[in-house]
Amino acid sequence: MIRQLFILSSKGDPLLFRDFRGETGDDDVVNVFYQKVTALPGDQPPVVMTLRDLHFLHIRQGGLYWVATTSADSSPFTIVEFLNRLAALVKDYCGGLSEKSVQMNFALIYELLDEVLDYGHIQTTSSDMLKNFLQSEAVSSRPFSLFDLSNVGLFGADTQQSKVAPSSAAARPIQASREQGGRSEIFADVVERMSVVVGSNGVLMKADVEGEIRVKCFMPSCSEIRIGLNEELSIGKSQLRGYGAAVRVDRCSFHQGVRLDEFDSHRILRLCPSQGEQTVMQYQLTDDLPTAPPFRLFPTIERDGTGRLILFLKLRCDLPPKSSAVNVCASVPVPKGAVSLSQELSSPDQSAELQSQNRAVVWQIPRLAGGTQLSALFKLDVPGLSSASMLEVGPVGLSFELPKFTATGLQIRFLRLSPVQPAPSQRWVRYVTHSDSYSIRI
């Protein structure tokens, strides 16, 4: 049971507040919460905070605090999941999640909250049910941009030259599809997150992949879709199909609306998607990657006579040649007290900086193609550098995005709509692999 619910901006401005029970006294809960958050060092307040019989549970999404107050015996799983779901709904209905979009759409969100929670009890969070009740229209917070026009051809006709959906395509309010008439689209995204630890000798110590297939539907009437996965997909360790190229996941689970009658034979998922985003399938792969890990690092660390620390890093991208990694960012912890950094990078689009409060050198590479190798030389001035300080040059953390690539090799063979849509519809399949945590020990 949720007593109050509020959304705070990262600066602590209340954006929305709703008291469902009218039970708590005159406490200004929003202020109490914000004081508690600011009283703590760092920006990572614990998930649960308590003041007398007031229990705050919060999540952070889109740079906002989503806070619920509740009683001590309520289920944290339920409330955390609910807040996440609420944030997802707001994102669906407003087309994005930011302080601005919440501010602009506050009436819509109040409406949403009223339908989702009654007297603090969760009623429904399915966008199919909710769309019947919501009347307000979303105000899109996206600023006008010339780039939006690039897809529009002569006399405003849609050009079909672009085969790739722009990354912002799915970031729009679901209800806008009503007004936009024939523009019905469906997105099937395969999103994977890797967490990898590579030992100092280059041996893979740990490799986990968490993946999910998300369907984002902007179809006013869509009765059923069929998603075909790789036919050679095997689940669990025992089922090995054929040799070599089998795609394997350890365990998977499905959205409760998914019908699996063709899954065992043909790896086809059937479902009737509701408006907005839903996770159709989740899967995990533990301790085993079908291919080599995407990055390897060859570090050389030296201390020269003048008390400078010299880091020579070679970063190799082991992806297949036609894939590439974007937004690669390597963060190398360096000894405390490092004062200045001089760098030699192999191309001008890269950058590196010394972040002294994080005690790290951050090396940013906008794009790294598969099969290529980059090197960087960093010279750090560290007063009082001792041999023990080398201990502080800890594991290198990499963050990156691998578009059009899945670590498990899972692919969507086809995405079919039935019955066939009368109006022209667009179907998009997108793949992306993120780094959840990719650390390479030195």
Binding site: P46, V48, F77, E81, E210
Partner: protein
């Protein structure tokens, strides 16, 4: 938030709202209302617009209606009279053909929270329960709960309660779940909604129709139901099996809660449920939402209290991501410490080592403490890492390392040499009082091993006038006193100065009193001082055990799936008090006092040289035959043990009853309870503390249960070797125990399951001892040592039980 120009805005809005031109244009009217609500949510007091807003509510525009209702509900309590005007509109809306309008009106009518309006609300609510649209019924059901909470203490209308019970059969699953919620609130004083067998089965059958939230609610309510027979229980359990491994963490957690409450008397079933749920829980640990990860981690910690090995094979899942928030990292480290075993120790230590230099000081210190914890079992490797960290010469790291070393040495005195050699030079880096206290404690207790100890203390004493921390001053006094006892020549002068300062100049009463106390103590003589100050330098008591025993599930089941496990450090303190009560005592202040105040007797029974050997244990010292000393060396390999054991067996069969002069075999029985439920590690650790080496075990809870062990007695006239076996073959003497059990049942205690029943009973453990050469005195002494150990183990078990029952 102060909002400048608030009054101006209100006046302007008021003008706009009453402007007939605005009112005639729906879109302009709606936008004006929108501005009012926006101002309201920004914290402007717009209550002055109440009457205008009441007018604005008579509109066909549903969006505007919603906005106005929201405004009215927020300010109704300030304007009860004006609110009466709204009721008419609301009641009219309740007749609207559009179900959405009906439900909207009904919800807001019950949200006004005005006791004076209750009479107007009851009739529409009653009609709402029978509405043909499900969305109206949903609202009406919860409306009754709101109404009852508004007029608390009023009589409960039986007709409404009956109607709500009958609506449990409503075709709409949300209506059904709302009925459960409403009844629960209305009947709060009678213990909530009554769950009988038909309702239970109805709910279980309809669970599939509910969404995640509805399922959680149903599962929560079902916890009140007690199945009437085992068959029914197992039917329910098998129905729930699928939701136990649900991909939705809320459903999984709620199902496990229900399982644990249904199977409170069937530990085996509960354990199987924990095994099954470990997969989904691990998946939740890898969830994209870090708050969900944290929640899952906290609950895994709970599960591991009963099944320590549950996550063993998955230890890599608990490696920290470098970008994870500190609160997740700390929980993960706590879990990693629990999962250490021979195979993974080097990997885990490598991983933890990386965290020690984390930017976040809390994370770094937690990592260092975690390594110290592992050091209790794998001291060499951990000491190497910890002493290596001292080289970094960073304030917070050095402080954490010194504190960790102090705690480690208290438990594992054999590390003292390494620790002593690492301490040199630390004092320059240490800044905080906790770290300095730890250093002082170490210098006091192990000062004889640190050559520079007097000089370090002297620097502290010279700076004592500017010292602000009370703890450091007290510790300094004690440390100097202790060092004086071991290195009098170097310390005498500075001790004099310190005592003089403390007694004459110090303003704090605690420090002055302690100074006086030591002064008088010194007057009594050096021997007395030694007795008081050099009691123990480590804690070999049985409380500190490596590997902690599995707890019964009932100890934490009630806090599962509540906020309790997520609270900050909730589990940390539990670990400390559960695993080792003496761990608390390892903080130096108590550590000084505790041994002396608690076991004064042991000082008298101790031979004077015991402090220097450091090998003696409490249990041994408390024995009547105080002359018995056990030792582990020379070590006996398992093969050697087997050879000797069998050799004696064959010898015995040949020579029949005749016993040779150099060999003795005895059998005895020890009655104790609950030893069998102890984990092998616990028993092993306990035995090791009194210098008995265990060699082989049968797995716990198999029959017959055996343990083989050996020890050497070093005493007069000659040292002997004792080989032994503990054997528990099952129920040896059934009759008295049955009686006992019947008594228990007659007492009205819950019919305890067989296994738990056995725990509390005394069992007879057969001890076979073989000694060479023969020394009956020593064997008798040894037997009493052994039984003390076993009894200590079982009494500890009893205490735990007593604690849970209370």
């Amino acid at each position: 938030m102060p909002y400048l120009g608030g009054e101006e805005t209100v006046r302007e809005l008021k003008r706009a709202l009453s402007n007939p031109n605005v009112q005639s244009e729906p879109l302009r009217y709606r936008n004006t209302v929108l501005r009012v609500v926006r101002a309201m949510s920004q914290g402007v007091n717009v209550s002055g617009l109440f009457s205008e807003m009441v007018k604005a509510c008579a509109t066909v525009d549903v969006v505007q209606k919603k906005l106005v209702y929201m405004f009215l509900c927020s300010y109704a309590s300030l304007n009860p009279e004006l609110s009466l005007l709204v009721i008419n509109t609301l009641r009219k809306d309740c007749q609207d053909p559009n179900p959405m309008v009906r439900s909207l009106a009904l919800r807001n009518m019950s949200n006004l929270r005005l006791p004076s309006l209750v009479e107007y609300v009851e009739q529409p609510l009653t009609a709402g329960l029978r509405d043909r649209a499900a969305c109206v019924r949903r609202v009406a059901v919860l409306g009754w709960a709101k109404l009852y909470n508004l007029q608390s203490g009023s009589d409960i209308d039986a007709a409404v309660v009956n109607e709500l019970y009958s609506l449990l059969r409503d075709p709409d699953p949300v209506v059904m779940v709302n009925c459960l919620r409403a009844l629960d609130e209305i009947l709060k004083e009678e213990g909530g909604v009554v769950i009988n067998k038909p309702i239970t089965h109805h709910l279980l059958n309809r669970m599939k129709e509910c969404d995640v939230w509805g399922q959680c609610e149903v599962l929560r309510v079902l916890q009140r139901y007690r199945p009437q027979s085992d068959d029914e229980l197992f039917d329910i359990l098998s129905l729930l099996d699928a939701s136990l491994v649900s991909p939705h963490p809320p459903v999984m957690a709620a199902t496990l809660s229900l399982f644990l409450s249904l199977c409170a008397d069937l530990p085996a079933v509960s354990l199987a449920a924990l095994e099954r749920v470990s997969g989904p829980l691990l998946a939740a640990c890898g969830s994209g939402s870090r708050e969900m990860r944290f929640t899952a981690l906290c609950h895994i910690q709970l599960l591991m209290r009963s099944v320590p090995g549950l996550m063993g094979p998955h230890f890599k899942r608990f490696f920290c991501g470098y970008a994870e928030p500190a609160y997740i990292k700390q929980r993960k480290m706590q879990i990693m410490v629990e999962l250490v075993n021979d195979e993974n120790v080097s990997m885990l230590l490598d991983e933890l080592k990386g965290y020690c230099t984390d930017v976040n000081t809390d994370t770094a210190q937690a990592a260092i403490q975690a390594i110290g914890h592992i050091g209790r079992s794998y001291s060499d490797r951990c000491l190497e890492i910890l002493t290596g960290l001292l080289g970094l010469k960073q304030d917070h790291i050095t402080s954490a390392v010194v504190q960790t070393l102090r705690d480690l040495v208290w438990v594992c005195p054999q590390c003292s040499d390494t620790v002593c050699s690492a301490l040199e030079g630390c004092e320059e880096t240490l800044q905080d009082s906790q770290g300095r206290q730890a250093l002082l404690w170490l210098l006091g207790v192990y000062g004889d091993g640190v050559s520079s100890a007097p000089y370090t203390l002297e620097a502290f004493i010279d700076g004592v006038r500017s010292e602000v921390s009370l703890g450091v001053k007290m510790e300094l006094l004690t440390a100097t006193m202790r060092l004086f006892l071991t290195r009098p020549a170097e310390t005498q002068d500075m001790l004099g100065r310190l005592l003089h300062y403390c007694i004459e100049e110090e303003t704090d009463m605690c420090v002055r009193d302690l100074g006086l106390l030591y002064y008088h103590l010194l007057k009594c003589g050096v021997e007395e001082t030694r007795n008081v100050l050099q009691g123990r330098r480590s804690d070999p008591s049985l409380g500190v055990l490596i590997g902690r025993p599995a707890e019964p599930i009932s100890q934490w089941a009630c806090s599962f799936n509540t906020l309790e496990p997520l609270k900050k450090g909730g589990t940390v303190t539990q670990t400390a008090s559960r695993g080792s009560p003496e761990h608390e005592a390892s903080k130096p202040k108590t550590a000084v006092e505790l041994p002396e105040t608690l076991d004064c007797s042991h000082i008298h029974t101790d031979p004077p040289d015991s402090a220097s050997t450091g090998q003696r244990s409490d249990s041994a010292a408390e024995l009547p035959a105080a002359s018995l000393t056990l030792s582990l060396s020379p070590t006996l390999s398992p093969e050697e043990f087997e050879r000797r054991w069998l050799q004696r067996c064959s010898l015995r069969s040949e020579e029949a009853a005749e016993e040779s002069n150099d060999f003795l075999q005895t059998e005895d029985r020890i009655y104790c309870s609950a030893v069998l439920q102890r984990s092998p590690q616990t028993l092993q650790a306990a035995m090791q503390l009194v210098n008995i080496q265990t060699l082989a075990f049968t797995p716990p809870s198999t029959l017959p249960w055996r343990v083989f062990f050996y020890t050497h007695t070093a005493g007069t006239p000659a040292s002997t070797l004792i080989l032994g076996e503990l054997l528990y073959a099952g129920e040896a003497d059934p009759t008295p125990k049955d009686e006992e059990e019947e008594e228990r049942k007659a007492d009205g205690e819950a019919a305890a399951e067989e296994l738990t029943g056995r725990e509390d009973r005394q069992v007879e453990v057969k001890v076979t001892l073989k000694q060479q050469p023969k020394d009956e005195e020593a064997v008798r002494a040894f037997l009493s040592v052994l039984s003390t150990v076993l009894h200590t183990l079982s009494s500890e078990r009893h205490d735990e039980h007593a604690a849970t029952h209370v």
